[in-house]
C-alpha cells in the first residue's frame, strides 16, 4: 500500500521485519497509538505481504547486520559495534535496530525525554521486536531501556483503592475569585469608629500611670482631675463646672463617682479622701488617715475602698464618723487598681508589686493572690455578664491581659496585648472588652470574649492613654491621654437595636434617677 511512495519503499526492507514482529507481539495494539509516526500507523492495517513472510525468519536479520554497520552514521557507532559484538552479540543488534530506522529512533528518544512512559512503551516494543533474537537477555533489555531513558527494574504502581467520590457536583468556575471566607453580612460586621465622637481639652492632666483621674457617673456626668482642679462635664447639657481646687501643696490623685452618681470621692496626694456633693458643689466630708497619696478608690454602696501608695487598702463607711471599718494589707507597693464586684462580695486589687489580689468582703486576708503579671496592675474589670470573671491588665513589662475566675482563682484566659495596659472596660451590650494602652501603641483595642479575637483597634491618641470610662448606657468610651485630650468614642454603639435601659444593668441604675433612654452628648 504505502510502498507506492518512493521513500517508504526504500525503507520498507528495513522496516518490515520490525513491523511484522510488532504485529505478533501482544503489546502491539497499544503501542501503535503511541508511536505516532504516521507511516507505522498506516502500516498497521496493511495486509501482510509476501515480504513479510520472506523476512519473517530470524535468519534474515543477520543478513542485515553488515548492512547497518555500513549505513551507520558515524565512526563512534562503528567503533562501538565491534566491541559489543565481541562481548554481547545481542546488544549490537539493538544498536542496529536503532540504526535501521533513523526516524523512529529519533522520535523514540525525544519522546522518552518528554514523556518517559511513551519511552517505556518504545522500550518494550523494542525488546519485543528483537525478542525473536534475544528475548531473554537482561543486558539487552536494560540497554534498550536505558537508551529510552527508562529504568527496567522499575514498577509503576497505582494506589488501588478508589479515591473517595466528591459528595456534590463541583463547578470549578465558581471557585475562581471566590473569597475563602464567606462574606460577613455588612450588618453583622463590627464597625468601629475611626474618629472620636467628641474631643475635649484636658489641660494639665498629670501623666502618671498610677493615678485614676477619669470617671463617668450614672447621671451621665464625667469627672476629670486636672492636677489641682476637678471638673465635672455634664454629657447631656455639655456644661462644665469646676467642682474643687485643692490646696497648692497637693493634687488630685484619684476620683470615683458613687453608685448613685450624687457624690464623687476624691483622693489626694497627701493621703486625704474627700466626699463631694456634686449637686451642691460642696465637700460633704473628709476622711483622713492614709499616710501617702490615694491613687485609686472603689465604691460598694456606702463603703468606699481606697488604695494607698503605701500598699494598704482601707475600707471607709462613709455614713459613720469612725469611717475606717477595715484594712486590707497584702500589697507591698502602691495600689493602683481597685474594683468591687457588682454584688459587693469581692474586691479585686492590683498593685505596683505586680500582684493581683482578690479579697472576700468578709475577710481581711486575700482570697487569692495572683503573681502572673510581671508589671504593675492598674487595669481591673469585673465582667458584667459573668459575675465571677475578672480581667486584669499588666504594665509595660507585662503587656498581658489575664482573665480570672473569681470563685476558683483559676486563670481562664490570657491575651498578649502587646502594649502597656492602662485600663479595661467590659462592654455591656457586646461580648467584648476594650483595653486602653500606653507604650508602645497608645491605642484602644477591642477584644471578643471568650474568643479573644481582636475585633479592632483605634489609634486615638498621640501619647499613652491614662484612663478610660464607659458611659452609663454602655455605648461610649471616654479616654484621657497624656496628650491632654479627653476623647469620646462610640465603641459599643448598638446598631439596629433600641438602646434600652435594661442593658445598663441594675447596679448602675440604682441611683434612683431616671436615665435617659438615649444618651446625648452635646
Amino acid at each position: 500500500m504505502n510502498f507506492n511512495t518512493p521513500v517508504k519503499s526504500r525503507r520498507s526492507a528495513h522496516c518490515t521485519p520490525r513491523q511484522s514482529r510488532l504485529d505478533s507481539s501482544p503489546l502491539t495494539p497499544r503501542h501503535y497509538g503511541q508511536l505516532s509516526s504516521s507511516f507505522i500507523g498506516s502500516r498497521r492495517n496493511s495486509p501482510k505481504t509476501s515480504i513479510h513472510k520472506q523476512i519473517g525468519s530470524p535468519l534474515r536479520l543477520d543478513t542485515y547486520l553488515p548492512e547497518t554497520t555500513l549505513v551507520g552514521t558515524g565512526p563512534s557507532s562503528a567503533a562501538n559495534t565491534p566491541k559489543r559484538v565481541a562481548k554481547k552479540q545481542l546488544f549490537r543488534s539493538s544498536v542496529q535496530a536503532d540504526r535501521f530506522i533513523p526516524s523512529r529512533n529519533s522520535s523514540s528518544t525525544t519522546m522518552s525525554k518528554l514523556e518517559g512512559d511513551n519511552g517505556r512503551a518504545n522500550a518494550s516494543s523494542c525488546s519485543t521486536s528483537s525478542g525473536s533474537i534475544a528475548s531473554n537477555s537482561y543486558d539487552y533489555q536494560s540497554s534498550v531501556a536505558e537508551a529510552c531513558g527508562f529504568a527496567l527494574n522499575q514498577r509503576i504502581l497505582a494506589f488501588k483503592p478508589e479515591a473517595p467520590q466528591s459528595k456534590k457536583p463541583i463547578d470549578l468556575r465558581s471557585q475562581y475569585n471566590r473569597p475563602l471566607k464567606p462574606a460577613v453580612n455588612a450588618q453583622l460586621r463590627r464597625r468601629l469608629p475611626t474618629n472620636a465622637e467628641r474631643i475635649l481639652d484636658a489641660p494639665g492632666i498629670r501623666d502618671d500611670y498610677y493615678l485614676n483621674l477619669l470617671d463617668w457617673s450614672c447621671n451621665n456626668q464625667v469627672a476629670i482631675g486636672l492636677d489641682r482642679d476637678l471638673y465635672v462635664w455634664n454629657a447631656e447639657s455639655g456644661t462644665v463646672s469646676s467642682l474643687l481646687r485643692t490646696t497648692p501643696d497637693t493634687y488630685i490623685s484619684g476620683l470615683k463617682w458613687s453608685g448613685d452618681g450624687a457624690y464623687v470621692a476624691v483622693g489626694l496626694s497627701d493621703g486625704d479622701v474627700q466626699i463631694w456633693d456634686v449637686e451642691e458643689g460642696e465637700k460633704v466630708r473628709s476622711m483622713a488617715g492614709h499616710a501617702a497619696r490615694v491613687g485609686v478608690m472603689s465604691w460598694d454602696r456606702h463603703i468606699l475602698s481606697s488604695g494607698c501608695r503605701d500598699g494598704s487598702i482601707w475600707n471607709h463607711d462613709v455614713r459613720i464618723a469612725q469611717h475606717k471599718v477595715s484594712e486590707y494589707v497584702n500589697h507591698e507597693a502602691e495600689v493602683c487598681g481597685l474594683q468591687w464586684r457588682s454584688d459587693g462580695s469581692q474586691l479585686a486589687s492590683g498593685g505596683n508589686d505586680n500582684l493581683v489580689n482578690i479579697w472576700d468582703a468578709r475577710s481581711s486576708t486575700p482570697k487569692f493572690t495572683k503573681t502572673n503579671h510581671k508589671a504593675a496592675v492598674k487595669a481591673l474589670a469585673w465582667c458584667p455578664w459573668q459575675m465571677n470573671l475578672l480581667a486584669t491588665g499588666g504594665g509595660t513589662f507585662d503587656k498581658q491581659i489575664h482573665f480570672w475566675n473569681g470563685t476558683t482563682g483559676a486563670r481562664v484566659n490570657t491575651i498578649d496585648a502587646g502594649s502597656q495596659v492602662t485600663s479595661l472596660q467590659w462592654s455591656t451590650s457586646y461580648k467584648e472588652i476594650v483595653s486602653s494602652h500606653g507604650y508602645p501603641d497608645n491605642n484602644l483595642s477591642i477584644w471578643s470574649y471568650p474568643t479573644l479575637v481582636k475585633n479592632g483597634e483605634i489609634q486615638g491618641h498621640d501619647t499613652r492613654i491614662l484612663g478610660s470610662a464607659l458611659s452609663p448606657d454602655g455605648s461610649t468610651l471616654a479616654t484621657v491621654a497624656s496628650d491632654e485630650n479627653l476623647k469620646f468614642w462610640k465603641v459599643f454603639e448598638q446598631i439596629g437595636k433600641k438602646v434600652s435601659s435594661a442593658v445598663m444593668g441594675g447596679s448602675l441604675a440604682s441611683g434612683g434617677k431616671d436615665i435617659a433612654k438615649v444618651m446625648m452628648i452635646r
Binding site: 518517559g116 517505556r120 540497554s143 504502581l157 494506589f159 479515591a163 473517595p164 457536583p169 475563602l180
Partner: protein
C-alpha cells in the same frame, strides 16, 4: 559522568538524618501538593478545604474525613518508600469519571542524590552508561547538591506551590466529574503492599506538557511537570 561518580561516592557519607529529614520534607511537599491539586482542579468542592499556613503561604488542605484518610494512607506508604529511596516518580492522574480517560497528569520526579549510580546494579558495563548519560533525567542527578538552608528550600517549594496555584490559568477547565489516582514509579526491589498494584503509566493522550519549577534538598531533587489534554485537538 565524572561528577556523578563524585556525588554518588560522597552520598553514603552524608548523615542518615539528613536523608531522613529530606525525605520527610519531600513527602510533606507531596501531601500539600496533592491537596493543592485537588483543590485547584476542583476534584472536591472548595468547601471541603481549609486554609493552613505552610511554606509562608495559605495552603488549602482537605478536611473531608474520607479524603483525608485516603491521602493519609497514601502518604503513610509514600513515607516508607521515601525513607528507603525506593521511588523515582510520583504521579497524580486526574481521571474523568464519565469516560475513564486520564485528562491531566501531575508528575513529580524524585532524584535521590548519590543513589542513581549505587543502586543501579548490573545495569550494564560502564561503556553502556556512556550511552545512557545524555538521555533522560539521570544526567541531572549529577548536580552536586549544594548546602541550602531550610529557608531557601522553603522558598523553592513556595514557588512550586505558587505555580500549581497559577496553573489554573492555563489548564483547561475540567468538565464533568473527575477522580484522581496516585501512581508511583518504584524500584523493582521495593516492598509493595497489597493496596498498591501494577499499573500502566496513565499517560494523557494528545498531551501538552508544562514543566514547573524544581526544588532540591541536600539529598533530593524534585521536578514537577503537568501534562494535560488539549481539549480542542483530537
Amino acid at each position: 559522568m565524572a561528577p556523578a561518580q563524585g556525588s554518588s561516592t560522597s552520598g553514603p557519607t552524608r548523615s542518615k538524618l539528613s536523608l531522613k529529614g529530606s525525605s520527610k520534607l519531600v513527602s510533606e511537599f507531596f501531601e500539600y501538593s496533592i491537596n493543592s491539586i485537588l483543590f485547584q482542579r476542583g476534584i472536591y468542592p472548595p468547601e471541603d478545604f481549609q486554609v493552613v499556613k505552610k511554606y509562608g503561604l495559605n495552603m488549602l488542605v482537605s478536611v473531608d474525613e474520607d479524603v483525608k484518610s485516603y491521602i493519609r494512607r497514601i502518604m503513610a506508604q509514600l513515607n516508607k518508600w521515601m525513607g528507603g529511596s525506593k521511588i523515582s516518580k510520583l504521579v497524580v492522574a486526574i481521571v474523568s469519571q464519565d469516560t475513564a480517560e486520564v485528562v491531566e497528569r501531575w508528575q513529580f520526579d524524585i532524584e535521590v542524590f548519590g543513589r542513581t549510580a549505587s543502586s543501579k546494579k548490573s545495569a550494564g558495563s560502564p561503556a553502556n552508561k556512556e550511552n545512557s548519560a545524555p538521555v533522560g533525567a539521570k544526567g541531572r542527578a549529577v548536580d552536586a547538591p549544594t548546602d541550602k538552608t531550610i529557608d531557601e528550600i522553603q522558598q523553592e517549594i513556595q514557588a512550586i506551590i505558587r505555580q500549581i496555584t497559577a496553573s489554573v490559568t492555563f489548564l483547561p477547565v475540567l468538565e464533568g466529574r473527575h477522580s484522581f489516582n496516585v501512581l508511583v514509579y518504584a524500584d523493582g526491589d521495593a516492598q509493595v503492599p497489597a493496596e498498591w498494584i501494577d499499573s500502566d503509566p496513565k499517560e494523557v493522550q494528545n498531551a501538552e506538557q508544562v514543566k514547573l519549577r524544581s526544588f532540591s534538598t541536600a539529598s533530593h531533587r524534585v521536578d514537577t511537570m503537568v501534562a494535560y489534554r488539549l481539549g480542542t485537538v483530537e
